[in-house]
Amino acid sequence: MAKIVFQHPQSLKHSIFHYCPGCGHSIVHRIACEVIDEMGIRGITIGVPPAGCAVLAYNYFDVDMIEAPHGRGPAMASGIKRSLPDRVVFSYQGDGDLAAIGMAESFHAANRGENITVIFINNAVYGMTGGQMAPTTMLNQKTTTSPAGRQQRLDGYPVKVSEIFSKIGGVTYLERCSVSSPAGVNKTKKAIKKAFQCQLDGLGFSMIEVLSMCPTNWKMSSVDSCKWIDDVLAKEFPPGIYKDEIAALKKAAEGRS
């Protein structure tokens, strides 16, 4: 009998993505759905899409979902998870959503060690509203609101979310990945799986930052967008595991039991 090596994930609805060609959101949706399938958690997963290009994520994820106002996903996810502690709850957020308007909600959900997962799409711009400067926009990067390029003296610095969040006590697992290459996609998928497992094991807050292409607002081809991540964005935001307390927490739990 033939072995299935590739198929449409069950947790991914059969609708056509509205995302631009080459966009990282669709890749992350797909691999998150693959993880949900592989872990068999479709029936207990509740997702919280943001205001941002992923606002219609409920058209793609075949799990229960509730849209959050811009930036408020982690607060809403906290409310859901505290009400239903045995569900897998994730908040899906862009860089504007997480690191600008929703910084307080994100920081404090992390600091409380909410047992939720944040999937954080860093595409260095505000995608949905047409390519304005984001907290993660690179210095000298041109956007519609930094037409001469982001100037550190007037516009501040790119916000390094994973570096900052790795210092927060309530964070258990935190990895920065990239979907600019097949290897990166595989790594991102593994990281999301590890984060969901961390949550299932009751170990606390997990976040996966994903460097993600926005060819439309970067005004680049899909291929050049991937290259720009590898050559530029990943230099400012190096991928890697920024915090991993999973083993330590498990050991401590075993010691107690």
């Binding site: 479709r42 029936g43 207990i44 997963t45 509740i46 919280v48 205001a51 606002v55 219609l56 409920y58 994820f61 075949d62 799990v63 229960d64 979902m65 509730i66 849209e67 959050a68 106002p69 408020r72 607060a75 809403m76 996810a77 906290s78 409310g79 859901i80 505290r82 009400s83 239903l84 569900r87 307080a104 909600e105 920081f107 404090h108 409380r112």
Partner: protein, 352 residues
């Protein structure tokens, strides 16, 4: 059930817990801190009870929205500036048809204002407050007993109409100690189909307020409007006090109505025939009940601890039917019943 003596803020907390509220999120602000503290002390000792001191009022309203979607009875509370911050979330709950109770223990404003009792948030509460075409049911209790009863009723109304409900009280109501008897709450009647609890092996659901197609969005707006029309038709509440022989009727709610009652007793001792019409639901406003009074009474005096906000609803009900005067004490100033009686007497003596 025994009578107990409690402060208004604690009465709301106890009534909420008895009514089955199992999720509370809030951020400290005077004069409602005792309510947040009461929930912190009591809700976690109940099975499944959650208390979160949120990082802001914005976070609190979104936390309760999430918990509401998950199927819990939920509450948040604040005072005026904090309620302003909640408005985006309240609008979103109205759009998503999520039940929940928001308590506003009003203080002086605008801006930071002060921490004295005031009624300056009437417009914000009754006109929707946040953006978009929506309303919230607004209840205006005037006694400790009513705080208890209306808190319980608020949860039932929120479930029945799948909408956020607001208790609009003020710092005086929140901090005054009063005797109260807690009634037996109704069992909760909120179908599981509206809850988001994971799809299990069935179809997944989503809850959203975003409707990009204008025709879909228009349809949703009209659906909400039809719901508000039903509420307006069925849910108005008010109290009439010494109306039957009244030559002049004071229209006031909450603390202002209590002060008015004290004033009316003094005025009646001097032979002035003054009564009180007290809206209990501020939205829906008991417009037709008030108008029907005007077939007999021709002089109305609106008294508010504001520069005149409910006054507009009274005008909508009575303009062209009766004379309407106004007396206001905004910004945290609270007159005594004797002071108010003097003011009312001046208006009364001008009636011809």
């Amino acid at each position: 059930m025994n009578k107990v003596l409690m402060s208004g803020n604690n009465i709301i907390g106890e009534a909420a817990i008895r009514a089955g509220c199992r999720f509370y999120a809030g951020y400290p602000i005077t004069p409602q801190n005792e309510l947040t503290e009461y929930m912190a002390e009591h809700i976690r000792s109940i099975e499944g009870g959650v208390f979160i001191q949120s990082e802001s009022e914005i976070a609190a309203i979104n936390m309760i929205a999430g918990a509401s979607a998950a199927g819990l009875r939920v509450m948040t509370s604040s005072s005026s500036p904090g309620i302003s911050l909640k408005q985006e979330g309240i609008s979103s709950m109205a759009a998503c048809e999520l039940p929940g109770l928001i308590v506003n223990i009003m203080r002086g404003g605008p801006g930071l204002g002060n921490i004295r009792p005031a009624q300056g948030d009437y417009f914000q509460a009754t006109r929707g407050g946040g953006h978009g075409d929506y309303r919230t049911i607004v209840l205006g209790p005037a006694t400790g007993q009513e705080l208890a009863d209306l808190t319980m009723d608020a949860f039932d109304l929120a479930d029945q109409y799948r909408t956020p409900v607001m208790i609009l009280a003020d710092g005086m109501m929140g901090q005054m100690m009063e005797p109260v008897i807690f009634k037996k709450p109704n069992p909760r009647n909120y179908p599981e189909k509206f809850m988001l609890r994971g799809a299990g092996s069935g179809k997944s659901k989503f809850i959203r307020g975003l409707l990009l197609d204008p025709i879909d969005s228009e349809g949703h707006n009209w659906k909400l409007a039809r719901k508000y029309a039903v509420i307006a038709q069925h849910e108005t509440r008010h109290e009439e006090y010494l109306i039957s022989d009244a030559e002049m009727v004071i229209v006031a709610y909450g603390t202002a109505a209590r002060i008015a009652k004290g004033a009316i007793k003094r005025l009646r001792d001097h032979g002035l025939k003054v009564g009180l019409f007290r809206p209990i639901t501020l939205w829906p406003f008991p417009e037709l009940k008030l108008r029907s009074l005007s077939s007999r009474v021709k002089n109305f005096l609106v008294f508010e601890m504001s520069t005149g906000q409910m006054l507009e609803d009274v005008r909508l009900a009575l303009q062209g039917y009766a004379n309407i005067d106004f007396h206001g004490r905004p910004g945290g100033a609270v007159p005594t019943p004797a002071e108010l009686a003097n003011v009312v007497a001046k208006f009364y003596n001008k009636i011809d």
